[in-house]
């Protein structure tokens, strides 16, 4: 038996070794260990041997059978790996090819983004949001704001007038919302009002439509010091720097008294605008204490109630913060411009995660 096994071993192990595919290997398995395989046949023959012979031959045969089975398993693993490697090789693709066509994210317009940034800050400061209409009447846009009929702002060159109406204009400022708020609510009042505004100007730095945000605080104690402190805090949060210096320059607006223009310390190095104290000044916004006549026009006693108002250009703040050069391009809807200067929909300004990101990969 031993001889027989040795003879078979050489033949079978050779057949296993030379099997090139799993199919060939399985053929060897069937031929040896299968129902009518050669080793199975030998096992069957054991019955015809004497007890003594059967015992020793059986032992040998079992060892041999295990040996062959192990050899087949080993070879099988080897062939499987080979086959997998070949499959992987054949499945290789060029990963530098672009991804499947899918909708790339669109962009949020800088004005909308900056408006959300501002509202996020004012919310933190406890302001409410107010709104007003784009088409205003003379009373809310001018009269109640202490802008007499002879004021230059009323003249044709600055204001759009609506046809077939006596007194309707496109609002020249968001200040009308002040009046609408004071008409409907008793102090304390603490609001901001953003929106579209219109003036009859169109050149390098003016567009006939632009955006303003108006702030109004009315109570019995708010004064100029509160105004400046509020604006300084706002600038710090908006421009995301502590190095903010604000200069109040006396000026004139019909609806505030005293009136100021606020300039912020800034620098322009290599064309880049930076908020920074000590370098130069940049005109930012108009503000002041609400004019006694405006309070009176809203039914408030100016000897009891007082407060401040400010108004600033949202577009201008967007230009300064994000280095956008041309105001006119804001309203051109050029896809290249929106994709370049716009914001991703997930780039949501919040107080917790910060107002703005610093750039990175975008699709």
């Amino acid at each position: 038996m031993e001889q027989k096994i040795n003879k078979m071993r050489e033949e079978i192990l050779n057949a296993i070794q030379t099997a090139d595919t799993l199919v060939e290997l399985d053929e060897v398995r069937v031929k040896t260990l299968g129902k009518s395989g050669s080793i199975t046949a030998q096992m069957k023959e054991l019955g015809s041997l004497s007890v003594e012979e059967r015992k020793s031959a059986g032992q040998l045969l079992n060892v041999f059978k295990t040996e062959v089975a192990t050899a087949i398993e080993t070879k099988k693993a080897e062939l499987e790996e080979k086959e997998l490697n070949e499959r992987l090789k054949s499945e290789m693709v060029d990963v530098t090819l672009p991804v499947r066509p899918q909708v790339n994210m669109g962009r949020i317009h800088p004005v909308a983004q900056v408006m959300e940034e501002m509202l996020s800050i004012f919310a933190q400061m406890g302001f409410d949001l107010a709104e007003g209409p784009d088409i205003e009447d003379d009373f809310h846009n001018f009269e109640a704001l202490n802008i007499p009929p002879s004021h230059p702002a009323r003249q044709m060159q600055a204001t759009f007038f609506m046809e077939n109406t006596v007194d309707k204009v496109l609002r020249t400022q968001t200040s009308g919302v002040q009046i609408r708020t004071m008409e409907n609510k008793k102090p304390p009042i603490k609001i901001v009002a953003p929106g579209r505004t219109y003036r009859r100007d169109y050149d390098m730095t003016h567009t006939p439509m632009f955006h303003q945000i108006e702030g109004l605080v009315i109570d019995t104690e708010t004064n100029l010091a509160h105004l400046k402190t509020t604006l300084v805090e706002f600038m710090k949060l908006f421009f995301e720097t502590d190095d903010v210096s604000l200069r109040f320059r006396p000026s004139y607006f019909p609806f505030t008294e005293p009136s100021y223009e606020a300039d912020v310390g800034c620098s322009r190095e290599n064309g880049e605008f930076k908020i920074k104290s000590g370098a130069g000044w940049c005109e930012l916004l108009g503000c002041g204490m609400v004019h006694p006549n405006v309070l009176k026009n809203c039914g408030l006693d100016p000897d009891v109630y007082q407060g401040f108002a400010f108004g600033c250009g949202i577009d201008r703040f967007a230009m300064l913060k994000y280095g956008i050069p041309d105001l006119r391009s804001f309203f051109d809807a050029d896809m290249r411009w929106i994709k370049h200067y716009g914001f991703l929909p997930l780039d949501i300004p919040t107080n917790t995660s910060g107002l703005s990101l610093n750039g990175g990969l975008k699709r």
Partner: protein
């Protein structure tokens, strides 16, 4: 207002530097926008004398000059036609900065001839606009003298005067403001009245309430010639050209003291002076040589025959003073600023006089100004003055304010010592008697209330002591946005997430295009441009114009949206907030893994649906197969809630695309944000989720239906069979074609059935299937496909 340092110093005794003065002006509300230092501009230039002029051998129009610099003779090539031997001019040598070009001169070779310098024109030195030749100086100063010795090395401040400070259109007003800051002493003396020697042969008749006071004087036997050098220097420094003594005196009073006056040649007047309203059809040729058509209501100064001057704006040419003028009539009047502004605007007539009158001049200055001008005329032109004539009721201006000095602390949050505040007011011309503040006449237009007085004090005192004062903390709201405002934020982000880019376009548009978009004719009477003359009735047209602009720039596939108002009325607040979007061209760019396709109605529907989800639109929205006329009638629809239209979507009508000259398909949607009901305020906690442990199963059905049968009807018929078990219905094939009758279509539907408690038997499933088939047949007439 351009203010020269030399003129300022006639009214302010100061040793402050130009920068100190400029900073002070800005800090008190007279913002200096620019400082021009004329002396700095002339740095390096010298007077030179031409010794010889030769023609350039290689150029007809050029000369070769021998020029003396005092030390040496140099060669200069010059193109100016006005050069001659012995002429003196201004020379720049290589290295000198030429103000007009902002560049340094370089040594040059012009047409083969070396040039060692340049003679300069008025324009090149920023001294004027003349560039026809080089400066021809009539001066005794020798060659080599620095140019600064010949020309005044003055400093010009460009001051931005706010509309409330009419008084600062005169050097005097600015000087007085500056003196209050302590930077110098105000130099001003009230004029001494001139004694008249005879009665004026011309009387004044006041017939117009827009002129409450007219102070006149007849001066005879004057001699009009050039004005004296001090006056000429003053006017030149302030940017005015000297003309003749009589004209210069009025100009001087205008810029120096903000006091417009007029001088008539009395011999050209017929009879008396009448201050009256212009007559309809009356015309006047004014000093600017333009013929003005006057209207009733405009104030004129007339003689017995006709209008001779547009009051407060411009005198007439006919009665203007000339070299030959002998007798004059001097006018110092006050005119209603509103009337002057209106007249000036209608006539489109600009003048220094109008600028001042319409901002309001000192209402108490008529007599003083007349006296001062009379004195100047007599001093300069000689002659004899009549008694002064004061006509009219006079101007009411007296103004006293009850003031509490605590008002400063109340409005500004810090205290200013009362004596300091009083001193500031007094230097500004106010009189303080206890709590009574007397406003000076020249500020009576502007300072009327306590707050105005506070501004005056604080403006001069400054805000250096302003304390840090945070606003009183308030209860923090969870969000400052109202629900509709939150929706604007949400819808923006949702649409951008779908690949649409946010545009902001004008609220107005071209009325010629608006008519295609259900225009309500909300027009602007004075549009900025004729194609921006109507408030947009829809956001779509401006977005289509944007598509066209982008496509013309080579961007064929455009994805844009806008969130903003559309207008249907001129009544404030009658405007609608709309979110609208467009896609144009192909949905995807060309790609190796996908078939290219143009955008269509289903892209618009998907955009609208996502946006509606973002703003929590109700779940029971219905789809109606109708949309406005700018959509393709067969490829558009609307989301509605009964009669309430929530949104439109669809492909843009081909005829509209043609109007906009767009050659690609465009899909669009409009969502009327205000029409979307707010979700009912319910508990934040969600309905309990019931999940079955049993496997869901699917069954496919193919129905043949009439073509006009809506897929949604079939889907809802199936869902209604068993709302609990049937959890999903989807359409996976739509077929129309050869294998079916022409008016039929086939819809293949997959129904998902989710048993809840126990597995369904084959029999139960069979029963459900039959119910489905019957329900579809009953509601739509569709049959199961054989």
């Amino acid at each position: 207002m351009k203010l020269s340092l030399s003129a300022l110093k006639q009214y302010l005794d100061t040793t402050a530097t130009q920068q100190e003065i400029a900073d002070k002006l800005t800090s008190i509300g007279l913002e200096v926008e620019e400082i021009v230092d004329k002396g700095a501009d002339l740095e390096g230039f010298i007077i030179a004398e031409i010794k010889a002029v030769e023609n350039h051998p290689n150029a007809d129009k050029l000369h070769i000059l021998r020029v003396s610099t005092g030390d040496e003779i140099i060669q200069v090539v010059c193109g100016a036609p006005n050069v001659y031997e012995g002429m003196k001019s201004i020379l720049a040598r290589p290295g000198v900065m030429i103000p007009c070009y902002g560049e340094r001169l370089e040594k040059g070779v012009i047409r083969g001839v070396e040039s060692m310098g340049m003679l300069c024109s008025e324009k090149e030195l920023n001294m004027g606009t003349d560039h026809s030749g080089v400066l021809d100086l009539k001066t005794d100063l020798p060659a080599g003298t620095p140019a600064t010795e010949l020309f005044s090395s003055d400093v010009i401040f460009d001051v931005n005067v706010t509309p409330n400070r009419g008084d600062c259109f005169g050097v005097k007003g600015i000087a007085q403001d500056l003196s209050a800051t302590g930077i110098g002493t105000f130099l001003y003396q009230e004029p001494v009245p001139v004694k008249g020697t005879f009665d004026s042969p011309i009387q004044i008749h006041m017939e117009d309430e827009n002129c409450p006071e007219f102070v006149g004087r007849y001066i005879k036997n004057v001699k009009n010639g050039p004005s004296p050098k001090w006056m000429q220097d003053f006017l030149i420094s302030m940017g005015l050209r000297p003309i003749s003594a009589l004209v210069d005196i009025t100009n001087y009073m205008n810029v120096a003291e903000c006091r417009p006056l007029h001088v008539f040649d009395a011999d050209k007047l017929t009879g008396d002076i009448y201050v009256r309203s212009a007559k309809e059809g009356e015309t006047l040729k004014a000093l600017d040589e333009k013929e003005y058509s006057l209207q009733e209501g405009m104030t004129v100064i007339a003689d017995a025959q006709k209008a001779q001057s547009i009051a407060g704006i411009m005198g007439g040419e006919e009665t203007g003073c000339t070299e030959e003028t002998v007798n004059v009539f001097l006018e110092a009047a006050y005119f209603n600023p509103i009337s002057i502004a209106a007249t000036g605007r209608i006539l489109n007539a600009e003048s220094d006089s109008r600028t001042r009158f319409e901002r309001g001049i000192d209402p108490a200055s008529q007599i003083l100004a007349n006296e001062k001008a009379t004195k100047l005329i007599l001093d300069i032109c000689g002659g004899e003055a009549s008694h002064i004539i004061v006509a009219g009721q006079g101007v009411k201006w007296e103004h006293v304010i009850d003031f509490d000095f605590n008002e400063i602390k109340r409005l500004c949050g810090f205290e200013i010592p009362q004596e300091k505040a009083v001193s500031i007011l007094e230097k500004l011309g106010f009189k303080v008697e206890g709590n009574k503040i007397h406003v000076p006449s020249w500020r009576s237009n502007d300072v009327k209330l306590k707050a105005d007085v506070v501004e005056e004090i604080v403006r001069i005192y400054g805000l250096d002591e302003l304390p840090n004062a945070p606003l009183r903390p308030v209860n923090l709201a969870t969000s400052i946005l109202l629900s509709h405002q939150k929706r604007e934020v949400a819808i923006r982000r949702a649409l951008a997430n779908r690949g649409l880019n946010q545009a902001i376009t004008w609220s107005f548009m071209d009325s010629k295009l608006a008519k295609y978009f259900d225009s309500k004719g909300i027009k602007i009477s004075n549009p900025i441009a004729s194609d921006l003359d109507e408030m947009r009735p829809s956001l779509i047209p401006n977005l289509l114009s944007a598509v066209k602009r982008n496509q013309d720039r080579g961007i064929k596939d455009v994805q844009l949206f806008e969130v903003g108002p559309e207008f249907y009325s001129t009544v404030p607040n009658e405007q609608r907030m709309v979110a609208a979007g467009v896609r144009a061209g192909n949905f995807y760019p060309r790609h190796f893994m996908a078939e290219q396709r143009g955008v269509d109605v289903f892209d618009a529907k998907a955009d609208a649906l996502d946006a509606l989800c973002a703003i929590e639109a109700p779940q029971n929205l219905q789809i109606a197969r109708r949309a406005p006329s700018w959509y393709h009638p067969g490829r558009s629809g609307s989301f509605v809630l009964g009669k309430n239209v929530i949104a439109h979507f669809g492909e843009i009508h081909p005829a509209i695309l043609k109007v906009f000259d767009i050659k690609t398909p465009v899909s669009a949607f409009e969502i009327y944000m205000d029409n979307v009901p707010q979700p009912r305020q319910k508990s934040k906690s969600q309905k309990l989720l019931k999940m079955s442990n049993l496997m869901p199963l699917t069954r496919d059905f193919a129905f043949v239906a009439d073509k006009q049968v809506e897929a949604s009807k079939i889907m809802s018929a199936i869902l209604n069979v068993d709302k609990e078990k049937i959890t999903d219905v989807s359409i996976f094939d739509v077929y129309e074609g050869d294998k079916l009758p022409q008016d039929k279509k086939s819809l293949a539907v997959q129904v998902t059935i989710s048993p809840m408690d126990k597995t369904m038997t084959d029999k139960e499933i069979e029963i459900l299937s039959v119910q489905i088939i019957n329900a579809v047949k009953k509601t739509t007439g569709a049959e199961l496909r054989a």
